[in-house]
């Protein structure tokens, strides 16, 4: 899904020369997962959404002592189950068989979503179609008129942690950023995203008195000054 962007797709705001030095390469999906994993504070309770975010678990270290939550009723979820370990009554939210770690606990759906809604999880990592500069998330529906709608736990996850990290490719196929001034896809939650991890940069959505501020923490495969010009709204480069 990650789309490499050609210089031709850059907006006219770009006044910098296209051959400006590029600090390294864009992040691969594996590197992105590694980066997110490293950013999760030790001892955190974390929910990893379906798809790309699931890969983050591969890079969490035992020393981090991160406890994984799955919204279908479990804390202390272990890695995917294989072979004889597969138990159809022990699955994650993506309905994939998983394992149980020592110190795990099971609970029913209302308790599980109360845990999320009540703000007890430290981090939730989600995929997205779009994120707005103000932290609105769009990841549940493309809004296509003929699509059969399905939401699952997406809207609960969007508001269900102290911090919501999004993982996605930064640019859409047409070369425009998927971090937008206002979401054009149907939103999942308003002002809920705190960080966006992408192949070309990590962005922080900071809360300030005068409103949210989109900050580029680091750029990958493109100079920060060039990257921010790809947006038609202000992006602050972290100092």
């Amino acid at each position: 899904m990650s789309s490499q962007t050609s210089p031709a797709s850059q907006t006219s705001h770009s006044a910098q020369p296209d051959d400006a030095p590029q600090p390294g390469q864009p992040l691969s999906r594996e590197d992105l997962a590694k980066l997110v994993a490293a950013d999760i504070a030790p001892g955190s309770y974390v929910n990893l959404g379906i798809g790309q975010p699931t890969k983050v678990s591969d890079y969490l270290t035992p020393e981090q002592q991160v406890t994984l939550h799955t919204e279908n009723g479990m804390l202390g979820m272990g890695p995917q189950a294989h072979g004889d370990d597969i138990d159809e009554e022990l699955i994650n939210a993506g309905k994939i068989p998983v394992t149980e770690l020592p110190g795990a606990s099971y609970f029913h759906h209302a308790d599980s979503f109360a845990m999320m809604r009540g703000g007890h999880l430290d981090v939730c990592v989600l995929g997205a179609f779009q994120v707005s500069a103000g932290g609105d998330l769009a990841n549940w529906s493309t809004g296509a008129p003929d699509a059969i709608p399905a939401v699952g736990g997406a809207m609960d996850l969007a508001i269900g942690a102290k911090e919501v990290f999004v993982m996605m490719s930064l640019f859409a196929k047409d070369g425009t950023p998927k971090i937008v001034a206002d979401c054009t896809y149907p939103v999942t939650g308003l002002g809920c995203v705190s960080r966006v991890y992408t192949d070309h940069g990590v962005f922080l959505i900071e809360t300030h008195e005068d409103g949210p501020r989109l900050v580029l923490r680091e750029a990958y495969g493109i100079a920060p000054e060039d990257l921010v010009k790809r947006f038609d709204f202000p992006v602050v480069i972290a100092g």
Binding site: T70, E71, N72, G73, M74, D87, E88, E89, L90, I91, K95, E100, Y106, F107, H108, H109, A110, S112, F113, A114, M116, R117, D136, S141, A147, I148, P149, A150, V151, G152, G153, A154, M155, D156, I159, G160, P186, V187, T188, G189, L190
Partner: protein, 229 residues
């Protein structure tokens, strides 16, 4: 008081044409497949089904939908790779859908069982699924007012029941069972085993027997007592 019946057919006899039926399960985990098969067999129709999903493949709820026995589905995630019977009925306009975020679904069921008239939830605020619903800002956060979902009958699956109707579940198959048991006027449970009264530790009972009306074991009682938990 909990009644114990020998067959799934007897167990689902309380479902009537037009009933609202709460169906436990998240995917296949905790789905009361044998009760749903009996419901299919019974011929009851015009059902409103409340369940997380809307049937997968060619079994369970998917077959009820295929046979057009379901008038309306209230669920969070109908569309799956193998939800072709739902897809077909929905696209044909022969099935009403109320899409509810999963946590609101669980909490609305919980509210029904707990006698809560309505509650303000942050989930869904500002989204199309909250359109037309009452909203309110409380302590600087925005909420949507949601109402209980009550069932005429709940069909759920548990690991074991004792003679008092107390239930224990197994791993992530617990999911919607406990809240659905409390949200229905009549709760029907299929269990893998029946155990004698006093063999479940009172500290570990998940659903007390007060919420359980009818129990059927998938295997004869006699062969199960020796395995009592």
């Amino acid at each position: 008081m909990t009644e114990f019946v020998d067959t799934a057919a007897e167990a689902v006899a309380s479902v009537r044409d037009g009933s609202t039926v709460l169906l436990g399960g998240f995917g296949n985990a905790g789905q009361p497949m044998e009760l749903i098969d009996a419901l299919l067999e019974s011929g009851t129709t015009d059902l409103t089904v409340v369940s997380n999903n809307a049937g997968q493949g060619d079994r369970g709820l998917a077959l009820l939908i295929k046979e057009r026995r379901v008038r309306k589905v209230i669920c969070s995630f109908p569309r799956q790779s193998d939800s072709w019977h739902f897809d077909a009925a929905y696209r044909a306009g022969e099935l009403e859908l109320e899409l509810v975020p999963q946590g609101n679904l669980a909490e609305r069921l919980r509210a029904a069982g707990a006698g809560i008239g309505a509650f303000f939830t942050p989930t869904g605020y500002g989204t199309s699924l909250a359109e037309g619903k009452e909203t309110r800002e409380i302590d600087g956060r925005n909420y949507v007012l949601e109402h209980p979902i009550r069932g005429d009958v709940a069909l759920i699956k548990a690991l074991a029941a004792d003679d008092a109707g107390n239930l224990v579940y197994r791993k992530t198959a617990r999911n919607f069972g406990p809240v659905m048991a409390a949200a229905a006027a009549h709760t029907v449970v299929q269990v893998a085993k029946l155990v004698p009264r006093g063999s479940l530790d009172p500290e570990n009972v998940v659903t007390p027997g007060i919420y359980v009306d009818t129990v059927t074991a998938l295997t004869p009682r006699e062969t199960q007592e020796v395995e009592a938990a």
